[in-house]
């Protein structure tokens, strides 16, 4: 493990631990409105100031990080499982199944993601609690985000199908699901891991995009997306630099993920 990777690992770990300890570390609840001090600058009471309705920004960053960092891997897991099922199986089966799966994934990739997300979000029931809304948002992201990974996996599985050890296994009488589960899937693991890690920052950014459109996690629950919305209309960074805290955190975490990923991909 090189130094950069060690540092990235430490950063992700610290951020995860601190956000998980939000209940103890946050000076105030994420929803509590200090209406006498909206848009306040940093102070002893509010380390990163307050947002437009007077909520403590530091507390919201802590809780928002927890939500984004916990649920993005969950969404990544959903999408990777779907990708393994569609891409892995199609690659393993080959022939018309592979062509059909590739056509379907190409079609899925050509869909305008953002509009699709907006439409799906609009079809959901209205009376759901913020916590359920956040789960739904990330689950939808996971359901819609499998196509790119499926394409990569189908290519890898296709290569494995014609490899010597699979041919030998076939010659030894192994067929169907057993051959797929015992010989193909374990050899797809590095690609699956890489796709899983790649998807996490993608989903964090997708939620941030939805949040910027006001369609992400429901108020008053914070997420990185809703925290980044505060930057709308910020003309000069010099005036209120503390408002950049969520953005800086996002950049640091994404960079750390990329540093971790580059090594995973090499392994893959």
């Amino acid at each position: 493990m090189n130094a950069a990777r060690k540092l990235a690992c430490a950063v992700v770990l610290v951020v995860c631990v601190v956000s998980l300890a939000a209940n103890w570390l946050a000076p105030a609840g994420y929803a509590r409105q200090f209406r006498e001090a909206p848009s306040a600058p940093p102070s002893r009471q509010h380390w990163l100031g307050t947002d437009e309705v007077g909520r403590d920004r530091f507390s919201r960053v802590l809780y928002g990080t927890r939500i984004s960092l916990l649920l993005a891997p969950a969404a990544a897991l959903v999408s990777t499982v779907l990708a393994a099922l569609v891409g892995g199986l199609a690659g393993y089966l080959g022939g018309i199944w592979l062509r059909l799966a590739r056509g379907f994934t190409d079609l899925f990739l050509s869909l305008p993601w953002l509009f699709l997300l907006i439409t799906v979000r609009a079809l959901l029931p209205l009376n759901v609690s913020p916590l359920v809304s956040v789960l739904i948002t990330f689950f939808i992201l996971g359901l819609l985000g499998w196509a790119a990974s499926a394409r990569v996996l189908s290519t890898s599985a296709d290569a494995l199908r014609n490899s010597d050890f699979v041919l030998q296994a076939r010659a030894a009488g192994l067929h169907g699901p057993r051959l797929f589960l015992v010989h193909v899937l374990p050899n797809l693991k590095p690609v699956l891991y890489a796709q899983f890690w790649i998807s996490i920052p993608v989903f964090i950014l997708s939620e941030a995009n939805l949040g910027i459109l006001g369609l992400g996690v429901a108020e008053p629950l914070p997420s990185w997306g809703s925290l980044l919305r505060e930057l709308e209309g910020l003309i000069s960074f010099r005036e209120e630099p503390w408002r950049l805290a969520p953005l800086l955190l996002l950049i640091v975490v994404m960079t750390s993920f990329q540093l971790l990923l580059s090594n995973e991909e090499v392994t893959a």
Partner: protein, 554 residues
Amino acid sequence: MNTIGRRTFRRTLLRLCLSLTILSLALLPGSAFSQSGGELRFCLRSEPKTFDPLLVDDDASLSIRYLTGGVLARVNRHTQELEPELAESWKVSKDGKQITFKLRHGITFSDGTPFSSEDVAFTMQRLMDPALHSSTGDAFRSGSGAVSTKILAPDQISIIFPAPIAGLDRLFDQVAIMSAHSSRKEAAVLGPFMVAEYKAGSSVLLHRNPNYWKKDSQGRRLPYLDAIHLDIQSNRDVEMLRFKRGELDLINVLDSDYFDRLAASSPGLAHDAGASLDSDFMWFNQVATAPIPEYKRAWFRSANFRRAISGAINREDLSRVVFNGHAQPAVGPVSPANKFWFNSKLKAEPYRPDAAMQRLQADGFHLQNGALFDKGGNAVEFSIVTNAGSKARERMAVMVQEDLGKLGIKVNVVTLDFPSLIERISQKFNYEAAMLGFRNVDLDPNGQMNIWLSSAENHAWNPQQKSPETAWEAEIDRLMRAQASAADPKKRKESFDRVQEIVAEQTPFIYLVNQNALSAVSSAVEGANPVILSPQTFWNAERLTLNATTRASR
């Protein structure tokens, strides 16, 4: 010095004197050489959809129509009074069906064709042509039957409508007269400016109308400005940056965030004209067929419940926190800024959570472990839908969520993209409460007929009723029709005052705030006086001018 040398010297001296005279005249603000007022620059926030003044339906086209169109009578945006323009005088018949205009003499269109009553007749006939689908014309459609015109003389014309129209004369503020004879069609105008150049997606350039009829008190021909350059720019950040750099002279409508930032850096440039006609409000779904639980419909149909919710919302906080103090707690359907039609007996609902709880208890609601339950044991929880992208409205919804949480009511805030929102609130009625805003450009209550009549599509809480479902809605229907058919403004006001009182008692809409009219005017502009009515900053464009330094630098 020989003769040739002397001549050359004299010529040079003469030229120098002439140049200095011209320069000094040009640099004198509002001087006799007033036709060099410079080029005013500001932004349209969208592409104008049309230059045809009778088809105008969007903000950008409205701005261009205001600057180029000549009207028979104009609502003075400062005094809110109707003033004569192309018509010297007018008379509305007692039955409210006919209006007779006496026109000014000696006026010509920008292309030189003379203006007469034939042009007014042509404009009205075209405006009322059903095939044109003019929304401006819709305001004049009072009943079945055609609108006719009668030319009494070249300077006199009567327009006859099939049914009475209340506030008829004020509607002509929106009717830009077109030429019946000019080959240039809508390019021939009677307003202070005319369209000189249009670059799609980029800009519109207006030049001074050389034939504009109006003069100032000193006999100088208006407008002072040479031109107006309108950039098409939807990004407000870019608009603000360009204004700060001095590339733009006006911003017609500002958000409170931008306003405060500008006021902090350049206090003299930010203008707060006070409460505008715009209001933000929320309402509950009362539609009988709406797919919501029956017990929730019962809450929403209870005036006590609605008034309790209204009383539990801290409007002062909404104004102060969300709009940085640039908004006023709303009273009702009419903003206090509407000087004539506002019912001054009414006051904004005060923030009284205790009184709100008492109202709820009177309806059988009770608190249990910090949560509110109705008499059937159902926890009080509902969602408020609003449009995604409106930061102010989202902030208000979050604050309402917190305020109602203090009464034990659980509110879920849902932001939807606008088409989905409209589909839910106007077609499927699949929502519980909604929060939206109303941009009111019309002072007259007739502009709100499509909201208050129970049969109307925009009767948001329970639209398109075949017959009024409640006694108070029947009463509002009666009063709105009474005011619409009365010619006497006092009688109309009495009727509409009562409508406002019923709305306050029944609270079908929970009015939250009236936003202030915020704008920015560069110090380069002379004669600006921002007002609450649209167009806030350039309503007196014909009298605006740029200062000498700016004129010289452009």
